[in-house]
Symmetry: D2
Subunit: 340 residues, 4 copies
């Protein structure tokens, strides 16, 4: 069994990662750290795990060696402790924002702090198998992209890489409250956050930079908190390039994603679920992508949806581990989501 550990196991992404790892047949979860809950049971923080584990959280400083280390920590913390983390493991999978952007200047502009380990940026492979499967096979440092970025990149990728779109992308991103994390402030109290349509980032959201980096397209993104706990949906508006049409788009999506285990193309003519919706994806590692072409306007709406804690978090990390370790990519990630 491969021995894995999670740094930052008390958070929402850490918790969902633990859930997935406990059901993964190839790994043994040997430790989960939490500064605030050290010594307490893991299923106290994550009550869905009752009966599945008797593990207790350990102090981050007491973490021992393991085969795979997942770091689900706030940004700054990963780059600050990279040396220590890297020394503990053969394969480091980071879920913070610290190693997602390749350019330290872009990082500084979007995160408002200087990167403290710019020389290490290039050592990380993006944890997005759909774009980086081959590189992941040999990677020993993986950086899992942001949740909204993953949805947008997967929605845009076939169109972008095949030159079917042109100009600037505008991304309208919607996200549930779990994205604010377990230590969110009073503005996330249920009485305040319930029923919200809260434009929390009219521009300049950090995931915007990831989308631009991965697609090569200039990107403008707006982020709104919506009434949901889990779930991300992005609407990406693009202009069609000359010669591009719905048929070409459909062919491109089919070509790129026909064999992808976790991307489904959802672009139907009718039916209530004819475009991607995150409510179908809670707990699932699928990213559904779809498109709608407005022929009159020569525009397309490219839509992506996922569970921010799974495909946009712990699930994406485990999928990347599976690729890296040579295990079947679906291992431990079989839950398809629910309806209704």
């Amino acid at each position: 069994m491969t021995r894995v550990a999670v740094v930052g196991g008390a958070g929402y992404i850490g918790g969902d990662l633990i859930r997935i790892l406990l059901g993964h047949p190839e790994v043994e979860l040997v430790a989960a750290t939490s500064r605030t809950l050290a010594g307490r049971r893991v299923d106290g923080a994550h009550p869905n795990l009752r009966g599945l584990t008797d593990l207790t959280f350990v102090e981050p400083d007491r973490l021992g060696r393991c085969d795979v280390l997942f770091t689900a920590v706030p940004h700054r913390e990963s780059m600050g402790q990279l040396g220590r983390f890297a020394a503990l493991t053969d394969l480091l999978i980071d879920l913070s924002g610290d190693f997602r952007l390749r350019d330290p200047e872009v990082f500084a502009a979007y995160y408002g702090v200087e990167h403290t380990a710019p020389g290490e940026l290039a050592s990380f492979t993006p944890g997005l198998p759909e774009l980086h499967r081959k590189e992941l096979i040999g990677a020993d440092r993986i950086s899992v992209p942001g949740c909204m970025a993953t949805a947008a990149v997967l929605a845009l990728h076939p169109a972008a890489v095949e030159g079917l779109v042109t100009g600037e992308v505008t991304v309208d991103a919607r996200t549930g409250s779990s994205g604010s994390g377990v230590s969110a402030g009073a503005e996330n109290l249920h009485a305040e956050r319930s029923g919200a349509l809260r434009v929390f980032a009219p521009h300049g959201h950090r995931h915007e930079a990831e989308i631009a980096q991965a697609t090569g397209l200039p990107t403008r993104m707006t982020a709104t908190g919506v009434e949901a706990v889990r779930g991300v949906q992005v609407l990406c508006r693009v202009a069609l390039a000359d010669g591009a049409d719905e048929r070409a788009l459909r062919a491109a999506y089919r070509r790129h994603y026909a064999d992808e285990p976790f991307v489904r193309v959802v672009a139907h003519k009718r039916g209530q679920y004819r475009y991607p919706e995150p409510k179908l994806l809670s707990g699932s590692n699928f990213c559904d992508v779809g498109f709608a072409v407005d022929p009159a306007a020569r525009h397309a709406l490219l839509i992506g949806a996922l569970d921010n804690l799974v495909k946009g978090g712990g699930g994406g990390a485990v999928q990347s581990m599976n690729v890296r370790m040579g295990w079947p990519e679906r291992t431990g990630l079989g839950f398809p989501g629910l309806h209704p």
Copy 2:
């Protein structure tokens, strides 16, 4: 104009009280206090009031005299400052739990602290016009009952006072998240509280004592937090007394409530809204009450619903003020609630 002030104006009950008072044609809101937000605009804490007031919060200690003083403060604080509050006004309307129970021993048992002003308990009239209208006319201290207590007392009152029920009442109370207040803890984060069916008081809830006191019936109450921001619903299960039946119940409810401006009897044979539901009552001062008789079992389910911040809070306080001041009882309380 009657000059009114609100102590504890930054809380949810205080805020809804301010909303009602700003629309009340007989009063002028001269001050609202907040320890944490002193100097800040009232509509910063209560953004629904934008455009309706330019008032800023004042320090509690700087509050001046007024004609009517509403104290929307946590329990202990009202009894601790009673002398000061009483000196500031002719009419004191307290929305805390401190003066709801007449018996200091019952208070101590339910609140876990000794009452510090037991001699003043008798000086307060319950702010429930349906049971105490005449006494309210001459009152100069009014204590507004708890939200779940109000719903249960109004649901039970006609049956109890006419001797139609016997034995113990069991109350199953459900409440939205606003009842936890603006300074609720991390367990009330949206991601945790959303979709909850949280049995937070399987027994011993403080409102239980109020129901027993007001109805004279031994009472057992369970309280569950449900997915809602506003709203309380109580299901009161009672045994029918000898000779009591549905016809007698219906007659009793009609007799007691036919002329009540804010109690509606909702007990229909069919239709989706045939029993009281709080979702229809958001923002409204109505308390809907209804009943369903199980003739085989000689049991009845008496149901009450209200908005905990209006009829179970600020609206009940204003209704009591209206009675006390001789104004039409509906003044300032005309909003009927919404559908859908």
Copy 3:
């Protein structure tokens, strides 16, 4: 008292119109029609109105004369019966889509049917006092704009009319389930619609044409159903014209809306409610508008929010009636909305 009647009183907009009219001090509601519920109590369809009215629905064909007639009917029905409606009243206020677009060809393109009374299109004044107050004073036919259109037009108007924006507007509109109406299909069952982020109109929504008509800006709109019963929010993305900046925008919004009774400018630097959110507006006639400027991109996000059944429906109709009749514009529309 002015005698008013509502055609289509069993629907959601009709019902909210009835609620408002019952609380309006200058009018008497003399009739509400419903084909399916004729002879049944109005408060059966709209249970929030229990205790406020004993009215029963009448057959549409049995409707008599009145001073003001509101027609809250599906599109096609208003134009089909215009002659009959007009003969029944001095002032006709139509809430259908039939008389919102001035150009019959645009109507045909967006509604998929030919307009059957194109010669009458010019006889209607838009029921949007913020843009058409003077014309409304003398109007005897008023057409209330669509809910999403109203939000977008009010969000865009100051910037558009002052030339601060240029190029195409893209509108990302979000709406609650009440917009689908009381006779919505199985795709609107709670189990299906709950938690939805349903892109139901990626392009070509009818309100798009209204926005373009009212602002003079080429418009592309996408509409998504979100988890809410009431409420519309629009995010309008625009390019800033040369010389335009945040200061100019702020000045324009202040200038246009400072004296508007039902438009509030909400564009704060901080705070959880720093942009417009419809959850604060349920039951209210306010349309909150705000903006966020991205100076680097020379773009602005103009945001509007309202309650689709009030400012985007019955409330907008009553506000227009108030203007037309010379009554204070806020009459009957005082409810400010709730928080939390």
Copy 4:
């Protein structure tokens, strides 16, 4: 591979059963029937299954033989077609209400129709392994109990069978909207059902009879629809028998459920999730049970929670199949549920 089929595959229970069966390593789903959707893809009705199956629905009459047949049909239909269903399979697992009650008179009283196959009632074993594991091993007809009944029976069983409670049980049951089924009426439209606290069965609900039958305790049950799609929670109020106390209850629950794969005892002293909550159980086959003792009153509240479509539907059926076929009981049922 064991060949299984589902009658009634377009419904919500049928759909979740299909989801579970598609992930079950021992079975092959060979057919799913639907009268209305015959010829259409299964993943059209259940969009979460996209990418997991290419199956299309077949006409019920064209169903061939299989090893295990699940019948997820409305009541009356199972008893009406029992002969046909039984002839198609070796193992019949019925999810309707037709074979849950052993006494045809009780059936007639609760269902309002005569049982048409009373002689077959005894041929069915209840699909509740926690109470009937041994009988299930040899069963060839299994009847899965109702969702609220399952929650209540599992919450009550240890206390009932060990004589720790006495007198009548009152059950306060809460359920999400999926319990109304895929063909629910207009009262289940999102705009109507959202935010509901709808007492749809103040007494006489059919599951009441199942609880009384399984526990031997006289039972009174009230059922309320709450704001949720999935999920059942029951609060069972009982009087403690002489000598019974919290310690005895705790011991009884531990004894009965320590080795149960799908029952967890949740009765903590503190923490926000100290009692069972269905929101943690969406998609999971767990039934969480807990208790709270009021020593003063000699009462206990026994609480159960589950996902009505899994443990209270398709999951309970598959668990029973696993027992009957000698497979590990958890096979295909490993998803633990999510937090947050």
